[in-house]
């Protein structure tokens, strides 16, 4: 099962992943703050099926927040 795992306490909300994702399924979780005080990146469960496991998000992330599993 494909997964995109966000180690959300490392996320600084820079949104490089948002821009990089070709399917535009990454967003910053406006309902929560991580331990640093940022809105962490996330993919809504219903959007996960659109993920093509390209890994672009992880490639652009400067903080190794993202793990991509196909």
């Amino acid at each position: 099962m494909k997964q995109v795992i966000f180690d959300e306490n490392l996320c600084k909300s820079c949104e490089l992943c948002v821009e990089a994702c070709p399917k535009h399924i990454i967003e910053m979780d406006q309902d929560r703050l991580n331990v640093k005080g940022y809105h962490p990146a996330m993919i809504k469960p219903e959007n996960m099926e659109k993920c093509i496991s390209c890994g672009f998000c992880a490639i652009m992330c400067p903080d190794t927040v993202i793990t991509v599993i196909k």
Partner: protein, 249 residues
Amino acid sequence: MAVVFQKTKGLTDVPFHYCPGCTHGIVHRLVAEVMEELGVLDKAIGVAPVGCAVFAYEYFNCDMQEAAHGRAPAVATGIKRVHPDKVVFTYQGDGDLAAIGTAETVHAAARGENITVIFINNAIYGMTGGQMAPTSLIEQETLTTPYGRKPENNGYPVKMCEMLSTLDGASYIERVSVYDVKHVLQAKKAIKNAFTAQLNKKGFSMIEVLSSCPTNWGLSPNEALKWIKDNMEPYYPLGVYKNTLEEAK
């Protein structure tokens, strides 16, 4: 189930202190991935600069030395002359490499020291609050060029790849960027070539990475990446400036 992307063993678990969207994080990871993939983590010794990356010694999973500002290539020379069989690299910003450390940079290249230099060019001094760098562009506003950099007062930006490629001791010099996925992947290839040049004892290798400083440029992280492409790349063309790896064949 296959892992498409996971964090490299070349980085420790210490979280990066860099600003949100700072490309230091991307480049650190590429260097760490390359060292892991080449299987040289257990024989790598890195030299950290003075600048935003001053804590680089916390992030790479190998022995590290902290250098004085600009002196990393000299420190790396000392280490490499004691341990010629180890992989020695420096990681430096534009003030470290192209201002205070120009002599150390030029002469390490001239001597053909078998070290690999990672040069982060973001056209500004980050750590100290946004002053002009030798690589700041004409008319670029910085803390010490509030009216824009003027050639009459501050001269012209310095092109390190072009300059160093004139030296016979330089074996692999390439300028890359990390402003999108395609360029990040190309940057990683370049870094791998640079470390390979060292492993093949070809001489001095340097990868100049056009990078961003969202905080001091006053831009969002994504806007800053675009600024690299629109403003820096025309002045600092990407590409290979010196390559003696081919001649080995």
